[in-house]
């Protein structure tokens, strides 16, 4: 195991660039052309507003819970409740995927049950959702 250094990644890159025995290609040799990237379909603004409200409500619940922990001077040992997980999975991710694709979707992974994630949600809500809901 190596210490964390920039050289580690250089080593990985160098290793990946070392020669390897090629295998038989699957088929043909024709050139491939880039495809145009499909754009999200236009959607009814009522649907966007409805989903956005649902997201904001979920965020409010999470935010309130964190605030209570802070107020009670409890350690923030955050775990999502099952309804929150469901809400985040079914509502938040598609919203981001479709309408807010400038926000990284990585932090949505529900495996990240940390205060960092909660703060990111709150931050996203402040900077993005209210503005985009209009």
């Amino acid at each position: 195991m190596e210490e964390n250094k920039q050289e580690d990644i250089k080593e990985v890159i160098d290793e990946l660039n070392e020669p390897v025995e090629p295998v038989e290609p699957a088929e043909q040799t024709e050139q491939v052309e880039p495809e145009p990237e499909p754009q999200p379909e236009p959607v009814n603004s009522d649907v966007i507003n409805g989903i956005t409200i649902a997201v904001i409500e979920t965020l409010d619940i999470i935010q309130n819970r964190v605030c209570k922990m802070i107020a009670k001077k409890q350690d923030i040992d955050f775990r999502f409740t099952e309804p929150e997980k469901t809400a985040l999975q079914t509502v938040w991710r598609p919203v981001v995927m479709k309408y807010y694709n400038k926000i990284s979707v990585e932090f949505i992974a529900i495996t990240m049950t940390s205060e960092i994630l909660v703060m990111k949600f709150i931050e996203a809500k402040k900077i993005g959702l209210n503005k985009n809901a209009k």
Binding site: I13, E18, V32, F107
Partner: protein, 179 residues
């Protein structure tokens, strides 16, 4: 001549996984196919390849955005040869039905694939990834790795790395050679 690699990049959000991945892609001299199911902004510079034309990629860096992971993996197994395969945000489709992980991961050498798969936690990684991986790039995660002792390859080294990372800054990582 070296052997083909299966590298796991594991870490919680905002630790620098994508930054490392972008460096590797940028400097790769072999052709690259990224499964960009999230349509990440960072990959926008790479052209999109149709799922049915994966076999025609001869060089360069491409991304596929086809929304059905099992079909993407099937086509990679059948048609993609001699290149680097990037599976970003693997957690997201890890449990999708019908994905032939066994064929992909056991057979990647025969298909001429180097594979890099990205996960958010040690716990989420399926055993078949651990059984076949050659290297792990571990960032901070939030879990209890000692509970995974029977699942991890070289558990002592990984748990030691995990513990050390907890005391380090957010963007630090450990590079662990498995085999």
């Amino acid at each position: 001549m070296r052997n083909r690699k299966l590298i796991l990049i594991i870490g919680t959000t905002a630790t620098g996984k994508t930054t490392i991945l972008c460096e590797i892609i940028k400097h790769s001299k072999q052709k690259v196919l990224i499964y960009d199911i999230n349509r990440e902004q960072l990959y926008k510079k790479y052209p999109v390849v149709n799922l049915l034309k994966i076999d025609k990629i001869q060089k360069g860096k491409w991304r596929c955005i086809y929304p059905e992971p099992h079909k993407f993996i099937d086509n990679v197994i059948k048609y993609y040869r001699n290149g680097l395969l990037i599976l970003d945000d693997t957690d997201r489709y890890l449990s999708s039905a019908n994905i032939d992980w066994k064929n992909l991961l056991i057979g990647h050498r025969h298909f001429g694939h180097d594979v890099i798969a990205v996960f958010h936690s040690l716990n989420r990684v399926l055993p078949i990834f651990y059984e076949n991986c050659t290297d792990i790039i571990l960032f901070k995660t939030q879990e209890y790795p000692e509970k995974l002792i029977y699942k991890l390859p070289n558990p002592d080294i990984i748990i030691k790395a995990y513990d050390e990372l907890q005391k380090m800054e957010q963007y630090k990582y450990k590079f662990i050679k498995i085999r």
